[in-house]
Amino acid sequence: MKALTFTLRAAPPERLDLSPLTPQGLAGLDKRAIQAIRLGQSKLASTVGDIFRIAGSNANSLVFEGGSSRFDGVATGMTEGTVRVAGDVGAQAGRGMRGGQLTIEGDAGPHAGSGMRGGRLEIIGSAGDHLGAPLAGELAGMNGGVLIVRGRAGAFAADRMRRGLIAVLKGCGDHAGSRMIAGTLVVTGGAGEMPGYLMRRGSILLDRAPKSLSPSFVECGAPDSVFAALMDRHLVTEDILKRPLLGRAPRRYGGDNAALGLGEILFPA
């Protein structure tokens, strides 16, 4: 069966809520039912049929041909299968994912992978602010799974993260790993101001010394690190990085001593 393919007819006239279009959400729906699903978030209330041409029928493998920064909530809560977007997406891509694989070939807006619990989300382009982070009012950040951004990420990447792995390859904005509870954030290409602010536990792995760090982080030497070896090997075997990141004995900063102080920032010596 051919992948169920949504081809964008024209640039969307309004922001769209694509959260209904997931493998599990579309399983068993016929084409007419799919076309009638409301996506529009303004008074226009566009439906799937207004926005996309549909081809294929395998709902376990969804393809969006063409994207837009107005595509919100792509693959929200997906549990299985694959979703691929050949283009950009808007806010909250892969929000609350639990399984399966979501690939965004363009850029993503804010809150990509917000509250993910499982699965793999790969953004080939760049991501906006609050990568993997909770929405307003929520306390739970990413809680599992793998989130890779091949380009840049904005501010507050991995905010309140508890579990899982986030990797940003071309640098990220300020306050990366803020309020982390645990989990691992990898940033190559440089992080912005004060990474790890308010982190309790968790690891932030960088490819260079952070340019600014809260004084509540304290230098903790550079002993040989088996963890670094494990991590380096994992990142390469998982196809996240091409070469090892930390090396044999990375430098370590511990913090945030203002909070619990059990987090760490590691970078190659």
Binding site: A136, M194, Y197, P215, V218, N257, A258
Partner: protein
């Protein structure tokens, strides 16, 4: 007195109201920006509900930071009256905004009367310069971590108060520690324009640590008093603070999606209702966005489809506003009452001319 224009032409208020209502009704994605009192806000939100609009404050960004502290963390707060009567240690967190200097001066000139200690000590957390001169010739002791900025300084302060290590100690920490040890009711003053959300969260963490054994609290002196009032009104009317939308027929809160400035910049909005009885002027709108303006003006606003001249709340007409000085909503009597209509009255008239849909009073 002319109070309404369609384009550049004077018109009857009634006609301008009808025209604005028709434009609103025809719009696909209307957005509102306001800077008005509680009644203006209530009327604007009620209208937004009728037409499926999203709304924000003209000072949306600073308010969003303060709102985020409440939505994401909460914390410990104190009423301004209690600060005046009880606080024996005042820590000013970050740059003291002009709008709140008067209150700080008042604190410097008075002494607490509800506790035995008849003096206040002042500290300035972060902030520029060598310290801060308050009223009564008093100075605030500066607590700083050099280049670490306000966020870094609060973090270091909290770590040091908890007996944990820091890489750069806070200047004058021992003086602060000694003051904290004897203070009966320390209060930290904070402002949305001076500190980002994480720094405010850190401050609340410091307060939580202190309150394990003794007392302390924080006084919120909002970035915009009017904006905070609007935030409260929005919250009771819809359950949500500002940056809420009715586009899908029910209130939705999303501080990113319904950041009205963003909606306008991204070309998502096709109609912009600008309501301000203050000095702020609407920002330039993108090409085909239609604009209706309510402003204290004596002439039509360039580029606006419709302009309404409104009076300033509390000046031209009685008003209800949030007061940082009382920490609640206050009734204000017009001190230069005029014939200019209130924002609320124009907005209600427009709502009455929206063609009938569901009859909803909100």
């Amino acid at each position: 007195m002319t109070v309404a224009w369609i384009g550049n032409r004077e018109t009857l208020l009634e006609r301008a109201v009808r025209h604005a209502a028709a434009l609103l009704h025809a719009s696909r994605c209307p957005v509102f920006t306001f800077d008005t009192d509680i009644h203006g806000t209530r009327a604007a939100i009620a209208l937004a509900e009728r037409v499926g609009a999203s709304y924000d404050h003209a000072d949306g960004a600073g308010l969003a930071r303060e709102t985020a502290l409440l939505t994401d963390k909460g914390g410990m707060f104190v009423a301004p009256g209690e600060v005046r009567r009880r606080a024996d240690l005042i820590a000013i967190v970050g740059e003291l905004p002009e709008a709140h200097r008067e209150f700080v001066a008042e604190l410097a000139e008075t002494v607490p009367d509800l506790i035995a200690i008849n003096a206040r000590q002042f500290f300035l957390v972060g902030g520029g310069g060598r310290g801060l001169t308050l009223g009564n010739g008093r100075k605030a002791t500066r607590l700083s971590c050099g280049k670490a900025g306000l966020g870094g300084t609060i973090a270091a302060l909290r770590a040091q108060c908890a007996g944990r290590q820091v890489s750069t100690p806070v200047s004058n920490f021992s003086r602060f520690q000694a003051a904290l040890a004897t203070a009966r009711f320390p209060v930290f003053l904070f402002f949305g324009q001076s500190a980002d959300g994480l720094a405010l969260e850190m401050l609340q963490g410091l307060l939580a640590d202190i309150n394990r054994k003794s007392r302390a609290s924080a006084l919120h002196l909002p970035a915009s008093e009017g904006g905070w009032g609007s935030t409260l009104a929005s919250t009771w009317m819809t359950g949500f603070p500002l940056r809420t939308s009715f586009a899908r027929g029910f209130p939705e809160f999303d501080p990113w999606r319904f950041d009205v400035a963003r909606q306008l910049a991204a070309g998502e909005a096709d109609f912009h209702l600008w309501i301000s009885d203050g000095v702020k002027k609407p920002s330039a709108n993108s090409g085909d966005t239609k604009v209706v303006v309510l402003a204290k003006t004596s002439q039509p606003v360039a580029g606006a489809e419709v302009t309404f001249a409104i009076g300033k709340a509390g000046v031209d007409h009685d008003a209800v506003v949030y007061s940082a000085r009382t920490g609640t909503l206050n009734s204000v009597t017009a001190d230069a009452a005029s014939e200019l209509p209130s924002a609320a009255s124009i907005l209600r008239s427009i709502a009455e001319h929206i063609p009938a849909g569901a009859e909803l009073p909100c």
